[in-house]
Symmetry: C2
């Protein structure tokens, strides 16, 4: 994309209501624009980030055998009356009447609908296990929307649901999801630590929140540094093997990690001092086993091997996709702007033409841009070099390819790595090769 043509309206002045870095930077860099309180339009560069996150989530969910569906945003109130949650849910649920006077609602989550969908088509234990997920817009009528897309009202969420024959099988689904989530966050380029969370009346230990570490996080977190820097992508786990899954799962959960809500001083004391890590975190995922709560309340049964009916065991698994855009920025920025992880960046690199109109500069820029116009943001504007440097830093492209008249004459460009500030004077071919190595 040529920046002269891009719809990416950068702002010089920071809106007063933007209190945290990600909110300020998303507005300044032209990624989103608020259209109503807590409701945002995604501009082209912001949408590319959202799609990159979505693609990684899909690939890793598919890899554990989950199947993607897409449920509508609006749901019938009847469904929620069956589960008993319609009255219980409170004013965060947006309730709607259609022209026929029927009660609808804008889905804040989808346990009821997926349970109904499952129950209307799956009749036999032979069809289990099933894991279904979607990435769809949801609405929660927050009384005080804030922090930009981090606590908006209309938000994009991955919600997944598993259906199993028994508690033992549901545990396997839970283990697979744990692996999938750790892989997702690693690929997104953020450190997200799984922490024990409340299970409510169900009890047990099958509830974890995933928190991205960032100083502006809403929760204080305490964890064992053994959980840092693990390579989940390299971990060999046999998804069909109970032992292999259990071994992997305990290698994660044996290490202490908790938010302040669940912090246990005596367990914490057993973590060696040099491995104690404290900080703050932003919740970006939550996984949860809840047994037969919905299948029973909604009367969903499946035939077992002996012909008797049983209510499948369920879990639900969320990832805040739009929230992650903010969380990634909170975890990865500096005073100059965003520092996109390679995997989610809207463009691989900015091409900064320091003298548009200079033959050598134009030629080199066109040559690089022509290799893949979708992957480069070509700053071809007739602006001062300083403006271009600042905008590239603000937008956070992983690489900057700086093309000035002196170097261009000799076929050289300056390559800058946004995250580290490292600079290299290289040929066009070397620049493209170096960028290729990281993407």
């Amino acid at each position: 994309m040529r920046l002269s043509k891009a719809f990416q309206p950068t702002l010089k002045e920071v809106p007063a209501e933007a209190q945290i870095a990600s909110h300020r930077l998303m507005l300044r860099a032209g990624l989103v624009k608020q259209t109503s309180s807590g409701i945002y339009a995604w501009l082209p560069a912001g949408l590319k980030v959202l799609r990159n996150i979505q693609r990684i989530v899909e690939e890793e969910q598919d890899a554990i055998g989950a199947q993607e569906v897409l449920m509508p945003t609006l749901q019938s109130a009847e469904l929620w009356k069956r589960s008993g949650r319609y009255d219980a849910y409170g004013p965060e649920m947006l309730r709607i009447q259609d022209r026929q006077g029927r009660d609808l609602l804008y889905g804040p989550t989808n346990e009821e609908m997926i349970t109904d969908l499952f129950g209307s088509s799956v009749k036999s234990y032979k069809e289990l296990p099933k894991m279904l997920y979607q990435i769809q817009w949801k609405f929660r009528d927050e009384v005080r929307p804030r922090f930009g897309v981090m606590r908006g009202r209309e938000f994009l969420m991955k919600d997944g649901y598993s259906f199993d024959l028994s508690y033992e099988d549901a545990v396997l689904s839970y283990h697979r999801i744990m692996l999938s989530y750790l892989r997702i966050f690693q690929r997104l380029g953020v450190r997200a630590v799984p922490m024990v969370a409340d299970t409510g009346p169900i009890g047990g230990e099958l509830s974890h929140e995933f928190l991205v570490l960032a100083p502006t996080g809403e929760s204080a977190v305490f964890f064992d540094s053994a959980l840092e820097g693990q390579d989940w992508l390299g971990r060999q786990v046999d998804l069909e093997d109970k032992e292999s899954l259990a071994e992997f799962f305990s290698s994660v959960t044996e290490h202490y990690a908790a938010t302040d809500e669940k912090h246990d001083a005596s367990e914490w004391a057993q973590v060696p001092d040099e491995r104690k890590r404290e900080g703050r975190g932003i919740e970006v995922g939550h996984i949860f086993y809840f047994g037969t709560k919905y299948t029973e309340s909604m009367g969903i049964e499946v035939s077992g091997a002996d012909g008797s009916k049983f209510a499948p065991h369920m879990g639900s698994y969320g990832i805040g996709v739009s929230r992650l855009v903010g969380a990634i920025i909170e975890a990865s920025h500096d005073d100059d702007g965003i520092i996109w992880p390679d995997s989610v960046a809207p463009y691989w690199a900015a091409i900064l033409n320091l003298r548009p109109g200079d033959d050598a500069c134009d030629k080199i820029c066109d040559q690089i841009y022509g290799t893949d116009p979708e992957r480069f943001m070509y700053d071809d504007r007739s602006e001062r070099a300083g403006v271009k440097f600042n905008d590239a830093d603000l937008m956070g492209h992983p690489w900057q390819i700086i093309v000035g008249p002196r170097g261009a004459k000799e076929g050289k460009v300056e390559l800058k790595r946004r995250a580290t500030g490292e600079r290299y004077e290289v040929s066009v071919e070397e620049a493209l090769a170096k960028i290729g190595e990281t993407i």
Copy 2:
């Protein structure tokens, strides 16, 4: 995907309310499920079709310089009060109050929001032209939803908008869109004919509907056969050249094409008899130039070259993405089921293992499936051959790879082309090569 594990609940009994082929076939093949009146959940295979259509639309819109954004589903009523449409838009608009008592609505279209978004960031003629589009769920509270996803209430639509300096420039945008749309429909594997449509109070000739030809279409259509079988993808048009665009555009519009609403008997009489085509069509797209209607009513101005302010000229361009799934089936099915065009099919081929458990059969099936599990639907169920044949025909995969014990022993499979019924006895390699040629 293995059919034994797929969440694709096929139905044997056709629901009584499904009156047209596409509705019946989408339910029978397990592509969608109705969750409320006129509101559908998309099951995995249906979602794959929707995504394939979406990807083609995006690629062709990007190719003419349009930029993708994503606006929220819910809009503030204030926006629509500014344009004057809030009261004018009848009961098809779903009106909502949030917990603070503010009026929202579920967007049925987005002229107001995009105009506001454009106006809040584009200030100079230098930033024109701009073409923005999105693919987002919309809601129209149809009094009588019917025909499945063809006339649902919550539906997925591509809506695009152009902003130009002048009428002359807006015409160029309109020509580019015409090209983009013809390319999109050709890639989708359907014949969609552009027909002159009403422009309302604006007048002029810059309004076209695109109709997919199908016997169940809601409109009678009359057109010159010169519009059939054109290769728009092979057409060389210089998008930056006014003459080239105009020449292309008149090569389309010089041929008669109209729905019954706009049918003109005297013009029709001038079409040579052997080129007269009559039939029925389903509207899947509508493009429309409407001048400064929204920019003026909403007070959006941009600075011109001489410093004076002007209201940009706009057009809006829709494609019914979810509706297209139904329209494609209406245009491409037979008594046995769906016949997916290669480009939108959820899977390239079904692999029909006629004897699961037979070593030779299993080995060949695994070999083919292993080349790309995402692209093949492997029917590994322990069902009779007849059931497998029927389900594969119903689901409409472009190819069927039939693996029986006799052929398998000699390393042969039977390859069947769904659209034509042609069959080939070939080796595995030949089968994969033949499928590869068409996809």
